[in-house]
Subunit: 105 residues, 2 copies
């Protein structure tokens, strides 16, 4: 992969780097979901959620499908959940290390 791929990587990471968007992905982990269900799950304004969904879609993380008045979203590549699990591990390890340092002091 070429050096401009750093830009692509940064773009995708930036698309993931927001609690509301992570919350959306949390919901989509169970499978495709209608916006009408995502909004109450996530909380916040409809337009805000819609905007966050657009960011995820533009980044290629989710895709949408219209069904009548409804729009359903699903994750494009489940590998994104593996990624989030690694983040979990790193954070847990960080917290444990911080605890250890506190015990030494």
């Amino acid at each position: 992969m070429k050096s401009e791929s750093l830009e692509l990587k940064a773009e995708m990471l930036k698309a993931l780097a927001h609690p509301t968007r992570l919350k959306i992905l949390e919901k989509l982990q169970d499978g495709p979901c209608c916006v009408c269900k995502i909004i109450p799950y996530v909380g916040g304004e409809q337009s805000n959620v819609s905007h966050h969904l657009a960011i995820l879609k533009r980044a290629g993380i989710v895709r949408d499908k219209k069904k009548g008045k409804e729009v359903w979203y699903e994750v494009c590549d489940p590998a994104v959940f593996s990624l989030l699990r690694i983040i979990n591990q790193i954070i847990l390890k960080n917290l444990k290390n911080k605890q250890k340092i506190m015990e030494v002091l």
Copy 2:
């Protein structure tokens, strides 16, 4: 993990979500490295690189160690590289899917 962990996750992802910082991590993949080596590798102003290193450090992604006038940085948890590999996969898959769609059109 509790729901405030979404904030922690977003924070860490945000710390990763910049091409300069990804470039730094690329350098640190080979092992600990002095700032004096990171700066020319990454390019850009010394102060800018220093600032990016501070962001990575604050996020718990890297740690530093002073050696005389020099400061050496290393990655705290190599799992971050696994994370970056997954990002690679996702992006590659996206590009391939885009290619397929182009062929259909």
